[in-house]
């Protein structure tokens, strides 16, 4: 590529810094809110330098730990839904990767189409059905409806990884006396374990970040973090520092996981359509 002149390069750098300030600045400002004394919350001009305090973190997560139960709910629901999706998506994804069969394209399109549907549209009838059978407010009710995105997502991502496993290895295992399911469990799954982990991590993040379903489905004791945060918007006043602390804890796991996923991000964000 052509070398740009020094002046143009300088301008490009300035532009890069502006872009970064725009996208990262708000996050930094919110992190600052979680450790700033409440007195400096709403001064004009805004207070940039202050003595950091961890009292809100202490209040929310240690004593009395009002947000702790939300954190536990978030963990249960996200782990639960990404684990539950595994057996279903591995089987289905393997079939789509390995076999030719009538209706395969239709099935793949069906999975893909689930990402375009309005979640609230099936949330309301789902909620009524779940209430009727006494599951309202349970972790299970949330874990089940999360499968509407974890299963199709995992199927589409894993297919790419299964495609990369040479079919000869499986055939060798099958000649050695195991059947197809045995070959899948003993050969294909171990080889594509990295891919399965990648897809589970994405499924975990999507479950963790979902707030539409639990807004309606979670009960008093099963609220995950984003829903619990609403409790800080009280009529007596908005506890902004507590909101920020709880939000920061909500933000950290996905940020860390995305940093780890590195080169798989594009693949994950486009449901495996773009590699």
């Amino acid at each position: 590529m052509k070398k740009r002149s020094l002046f143009i390069q300088f301008l490009l750098y300035v532009l890069l810094v502006i872009v970064m300030l725009f996208f990262i600045g708000p996050i930094v400002w919110f992190f600052m809110l979680s450790i700033r004394p409440a007195l400096t919350n709403r001064t004009i001009p805004p207070t940039v330098i202050f003595k950091p305090t961890f009292e809100y973190f202490y209040y929310c997560f240690i004593n009395p730990g009002v947000s702790l139960k939300y954190l536990i709910s978030s963990l249960i629901v996200s782990f639960g839904s990404s684990l539950l999706s595994l057996p279903f998506s591995i089987l289905s994804s393997y079939a789509i990767s390995r076999f030719e069969f009538k209706g395969k394209n239709f099935i793949t399109l069906f999975y893909l189409s689930l990402f375009f549907g309005p979640p609230v549209a099936y949330l309301i009838p789902y909620f009524l059905i779940v209430s009727r059978i006494g599951l309202a407010g349970t972790y299970l009710s949330m874990i089940l409806i999360y499968q509407t995105f974890t299963i199709p997502f995992s199927i589409l991502i894993m297919k790419g990884f299964f495609d990369e496993v040479p079919v000869e290895i499986e055939e060798a295992a099958m000649i050695d006396g195991t059947d197809r399911l045995g070959a899948l469990i003993r050969v294909v799954i171990p080889i594509s374990l990295p891919g399965i982990i990648v897809s589970s991590l994405f499924a975990f993040v999507f479950s963790w970040n979902n707030a539409v379903f639990p807004l309606v489905l979670s009960g008093y004791t099963t609220k995950p973090l984003p829903i619990g945060t609403f409790n800080f918007f009280a009529t007596t006043g908005v506890a902004w520092n507590n909101i920020a602390v709880t939000s920061v804890i909500t933000m950290l796991p996905p940020m860390i996981i995305f940093m780890v996923l590195g080169k798989y991000i594009v693949r994950g964000l486009t449901f495996g359509a773009i590699k």
């Binding site: 872009v19 076999f99 395969k104 549907g117 789902y126 309606v216 984003p226 933000m251 594009v266």
Partner: protein, 293 residues
């Protein structure tokens, strides 16, 4: 790769996931279609009140709030996706200049995407607050802020929602388009440069056509997701002030789970589903050739 033909085995493998999806999606959807033709308001009775034909659907179209949320949804989703694409392309091209430290910036740019949209809503509710950072910055550059605050005014609250979504999802386009730019063979660009092609010519005749599938697919995902926009609205404006920032999803939620007008909300849900099906199909028909899918 050689594919093996089996008769029943593939279906056996696909069956469990199809079955569970039938139970959690298809059954509720059928349930809602059935009851969208009945009168059912949980505030007056726990039980459906009998068939009313298309009355719910007709009432939906007579409802000013619904019309407003319908218009809002379109006014948000189309411009947002276009703006995100243009900004994202600009950032991707900037990264493509291979500036020193660009890798670090690129790694950081993923951060907005990783945040739960509900939390993004809280974040910007804080930033747009009356004495918040954005109001302050705007006052510094001399932009008048409405007395009721940015989120208290119908027009500025609407812009604030759009701004929030653009902030969160522009990096999505930037990262995917950068990957797309990277996948263009370098010889192609070099040959064009030797032939004296300008930057914009390379972009228009080589880069964009090369990334056509990537761009269209990404735009389609983004359109569907903004069309269903809910989290940010719930956390940032609650559809307010009044009903000014209600989207279709928020209006549906409000009718169904706040007003408990179940039959009526099911009619909204099905109107929404039909709308998105039509748009996605038109989109596919006009942009993809059949062999590309």
């Amino acid at each position: 790769m050689p594919k093996i033909k089996y008769r029943f085995l593939p279906y056996l493998y696909v069956l469990p996931s199809m079955l569970i999806l039938m139970i959690i999606i298809i059954y509720p959807l059928c349930f809602s279609l059935y009851y969208s033709f009945q009168h059912w308001n949980l505030q007056t009775s726990p039980f459906p009140g009998g068939f009313v034909g298309f009355a719910n659907y007709i009432n939906v179209f007579k409802d000013q709030t619904f019309i407003q949320s319908f218009v809002n949804t379109f006014k948000l989703s189309f411009p947002i996706v276009i703006i995100e694409f243009v900004l994202g392309l600009g950032i991707a091209l900037l990264f493509n200049e291979k500036l020193k430290g660009g890798n670090l910036f690129r790694a950081l740019l993923i951060m907005p995407i990783t945040i739960a949209p509900m939390v993004t809503g809280f974040l910007f509710r804080y930033l747009f607050y009356k004495n918040g950072l954005i109001s302050y910055i705007l006052s510094l550059i001399g932009i008048q802020i409405p007395n009721e605050g940015i989120l208290g005014n119908a027009i500025t609250a609407f812009l604030a929602i759009a701004f929030t979504d653009i902030w969160q999802w522009t990096p999505f386009f930037a990262i995917i388009l950068f990957a797309g730019l990277q996948s263009i063979p370098i010889q192609l660009n070099e040959a064009a440069e030797i032939d004296g092609a300008s930057f914009s010519q390379i972009l228009w005749y080589i880069s964009l056509p090369h990334m056509k599938f990537v761009i269209l697919f990404t735009a389609m995902i983004r359109f569907a997701i903004t069309f269903n926009l809910f989290d940010i609205i719930k956390a940032e404006t609650m559809g307010g002030p009044g009903t000014a920032t209600r989207t279709l999803s928020y209006n549906l939620y409000y009718e169904g789970l706040v007003n408990y007008n179940i039959g009526y909300s099911f009619a909204i849900a099905w109107i929404m589903i039909f709308t998105i099906i039509i748009i996605v199909n038109v989109f596919i028909k006009f942009t993809f050739k059949p062999e590309e899918l």
